[in-house]
Amino acid sequence: MAYEPKIVAFLCNWCSYAGADLAGIGRLQYPTNLRVVRIPCSGRINPLFIFSALRNGADGILTSG
């Protein structure tokens, strides 16, 4: 089986999360490997969250805001 990375995305509620919604509204298809954590602002992203996600098995992290 091909390598399937797990990706965790920290998305700002006001922009990127809305963008991800819009991708849905537009039915843009993308791989299922992404798990989104909605946060109040990209300022909320503590570097520790990123390390913790990696510790919990994520292979890549997307932060966007």
């Binding site: 570097p47 520790l48 390390f51 913790s52 990696l54 510790r55």
Partner: protein
């Protein structure tokens, strides 16, 4: 050195006698060769114990945080950068601090000296200007001081204190910061870097000496000691968690690290810690043109925002 020691003692005595300060933090002769030890002088007599030599490696900024009394400190360039950074962070009250700045040519790395004499016991040293003689039983080895300096010191561009109330010693020639070590590491492939770091981190025993030696690590509860939430394992057997510990430490040091090398000097396992901290120092300098602890009046770089700040971390369409 003798001259500097005398000047420091005189200054300290005067400050104590005139009650300008309650305490002078400096160095005294260590009980072993190649060592000086941090020393607290509260009286003029005690001030006689103060020394200055090429073994005054500890960062004395560590002893100045959240003090109520009036303190004078004998401080070299890197100590003062840390002091400046700590003043910005409300950890040191500048009004209560008298800085006896001492120009510095670098401190001697005991490990390098030991290596030079193939592990023979050094019992005594003698410094003659740019030369040092290491003496012991059946041992008398001459060496250039320059060759025995800590790597941190050879790369240091701040031999002249950036702020002080009184300056002792001759002005040092200006130097440019040197990041060759980091550039070399950056040139490696991602795998090579990961491999190297994994190897280094396997050595870590989580004694936290690095953290405790660091003047900028002063949190009451360090994130590694948190239990709700528990960010990482508290045991040392995971090189990955060890790297997270060091990685987060670097994050916390961004724009703050004075590059004094205290962490690395404190490490009993000889981990190349300055590789990580200095990568942060270099990135901050390259991205924002900022070096920590140079100006007590500017805003810490990562707390400030300018509209034309570079944003290389942003993805472009």
């Amino acid at each position: 050195m003798q001259k500097l020691t005398k000047e420091i003692q005189d200054t300290a005595k005067k400050l104590l006698e005139e009650n300008k300060v309650d305490l002078v933090v400096g160095f005294a002769k260590g009980s072993l060769p190649l060592r000086s030890t941090p020393y607290f002088a509260r009286t003029a007599e005690q001030a006689e114990e103060l020394v200055w030599n090429q073994f005054c490696e500890n960062n004395l900024a560590n002893y100045l945080k959240k003090r109520e009394e009036k303190v004078a400190v004998v401080a070299k360039g890197c100590d003062i950068r840390a002091i400046v950074a700590l003043i910005k962070e409300n950890q040191i009250n500048r009004d209560n601090l008298y800085i006896i700045g001492v120009t510095c040519q670098g401190m001697i790395d005991r490990n390098k000296a030991d290596e030079l004499v193939n592990g023979k016991e050094i019992l005594e040293t003698e410094t003659n200007g740019e030369e040092i003689v290491l003496k012991g039983k059946d041992l008398e080895q001459k060496a250039k001081v320059e060759e025995l300096l800590y790597d941190t010191c050879t790369r240091c561009a701040y031999g002249n204190p950036v702020i002080y109330d009184e300056l002792i010693g001759e002005e040092q020639p200006a130097k440019e910061p040197n990041f060759e070590d980091i550039e070399k590491f950056e040139a490696l492939s991602a795998e090579e870097r990961a491999q190297y770091l994994a190897k280094e981190m396997e050595k870590c025993i989580r004694c936290y000496a690095c953290r405790n030696a660091c003047p900028m690590c002063y949190c009451d509860t360090c994130f590694v000691d948190e239990s709700t939430p528990q960010w990482i394992s508290k045991r040392a057997n995971s090189a990955k968690d060890n790297l997270i510990f060091q990685g987060v430490r670097v994050f916390h040091q961004l724009g703050r690290c004075a590059d004094c090398g205290a962490c690395e000097r404190a490490c009993p396992m000889g981990i190349n810690l300055s590789l990580l901290t200095r990568k942060g120092v270099k990135d901050v300098k390259e991205t924002y043109g900022y070096e920590a602890g140079l100006n007590p009046d500017d805003k810490p770089v990562l707390s400030d925002f300018e509209t034309d700040d570079p944003q290389p971390f942003l993805m472009k369409e």
